[in-house]
Amino acid sequence: MPPAVRRHPTARAMTVRRLAAGVRLNVLTFVRTPLNVVLAVALPIVVIEGWGRSMAGLPETPTMEAIPLTLGRLLGAILGVAIVAGLLGLTQMISAREADRRLVQTGYEPRTLLATRLLALSGVTVAVAAVNFLVLAATTSPEAPVLTFAFLALAGIVYAFLGALVGAVLPRLFEGSLVVVFLAMMDAFLSGDSPLAADVPDFVTYFPLYHPKELLRAAMFEGTVATGDLAFVAGYVLVLLAAVTAVFGATMQVDGRWSA
């Protein structure tokens, strides 16, 4: 039997260094675009308060309970995270198409690049979720703050990967942004609990934000973990991760196969 081929230690160190550098540069690129920062900070405030006050503004009628402001704000926070995370995924995929194929040709491993992208994407998504959580927590009192933040981040991750898929199909920032925004809005609206979306068909439970919304309701108002919903969301994330990996791989094809 031939001896197992051992990777040279410095190659592994090189990969780790590239990963770290890649993540840092990705994040810097995001932060250096003023529009991104404005959106990431201003959008949550606008959406959370806007959606919150809208929902709370609905009239109480004999057949309809009033919606508390907190629930409205929670729904707004979900939408805020989804939109910004979706845009992040979109921009990551667009810049991957533009830059990474060239990097692959110079010797970067596609696996490393993908890991870099997904790590950076997840990291910034968590930061975005943090902003949304802070705005939410400033005006409401979640029963389980840590869980609420964690599930907001999870909802963000779902939409970050969805945004990446949108970017794979429609690699244009303007058009892709429109798609992400309207997808997130329709999803949040139909998945959310309001009289405005009371008579929704059953398949809405398969929408990306439905189960994250259930998770967040439980964490926010009861301080519990809705395990069924958590399992569903975890599965959703895994499926999306596989899809994004496949799409990224196809984008990085060099001579019809992954290089290195």
């Binding site: 529009l35 959106l39 606008v46 806007g50 006050r53 809208s54 503004g57 609905l58 009239p59 009628t61 057949t63 309809m64 920032l173 303007f174 058009e175 942004s177 429109l178 925004v181 309207f182 329709m186 139909l190 009289p195 405005l196 979306a197 009371a198 008579d199 929704v200």
Partner: protein
């Protein structure tokens, strides 16, 4: 065919080949208006409006209220983006001016395109709405829709002159949603509107829309007058900015 007519025709052709605009015209009305009628809880809610000169609340089915307000939200978003798209070509419009088109011809052509597209956007939005709901006063409703969409088309052009495409996109998404979708929305605002809400482009036309859409008599025609004044002011500002962006300094020696 006069040069302005040529420019309007060609300009329209150019805009209608924009698949983003076409996709918006097809997807948004159904996603926003039809879905609103379909999924809203079938209950009655109080709507604040003017009846016989008095501010009062009238009970109306919530699906109707939701659908009626989603119609101008849809048309203002699309019209605003149309305005944004039109302004993106300002540098090319300037080059067209260099080729011999007079400033007034270029302006007339560009605003002619905006007018036609505003009509299209309004027609599509109202057309989708009437599948589920016919306004009590269709003529006034359509007039108010045209007015509101035209105002937002002009606002889109103004924003397009000041901001780049992406930043402009965000402004023209958020502004109509906050203005028509929240501050002027009878679903959510049932007290007298705060003074600053009345400064938004949607205030006057939306009052008329709610009145004409949901009540038997139209008592808010004065608001149409105010809305027209708003249109005049925004229109003048937009024409002024557009002229400054596309004018040619000193046309020399054209035989």
């Amino acid at each position: 065919m006069s040069r302005t007519t040529t420019a309007v025709t060609v300009g329209l052709r150019e805009q209608l080949r924009n698949y983003v605009l076409l996709a918006l015209l097809v997807v948004l009305p159904i996603a926003f208006i039809s879905v609103a009628f379909a999924v809203t809880q079938d209950t009655t809610m109080p709507v604040r409006t003017i009846v016989d000169g008095q501010t009062t609340t009238v009970p109306r089915p919530m699906p109707d209220v939701h659908g009626v307000i989603m119609t101008p939200i849809t048309s203002t978003i699309i019209a605003g983006l149309v305005g944004l798209f039109l302004m993106q070509n300002a540098a090319v419009d300037q080059r067209l001016g260099l080729s011999g088109y007079r400033a007034r011809e270029v302006i007339a052509a560009r605003f002619g395109v905006l007018l036609v597209l505003t009509l299209v956007v309004t027609a599509v939005s109202v057309g989708v709405m009437v599948v589920d709901f016919v306004p009590e006063n269709p003529v006034v409703f359509v007039a108010a829709m045209l007015l509101l969409s035209a105002i937002y088309g002009l606002v889109g052009m103004l924003v397009g002159a000041l901001l780049d495409r992406l930043a402009g996109l965000w402004v023209m998404l958020i502004l109509p949603m906050l203005d028509v979708g929240l501050f002027q929305d009878p679903l959510f605002v049932r007290d007298a509107p705060a003074w600053w809400m009345k400064l938004f482009p949607g205030y006057h036309p939306t009052r008329v829309l709610v009145d004409a859409g949901l009540t038997g008599e139209v008592d808010t025609l004065a608001s149409m007058g105010w809305g027209l004044a708003y249109l005049l002011v925004v229109g003048t500002a937009t024409i002024g900015i557009y002229y400054r962006t596309t004018r040619i300094a000193g046309r020399g020696g054209r035989p």
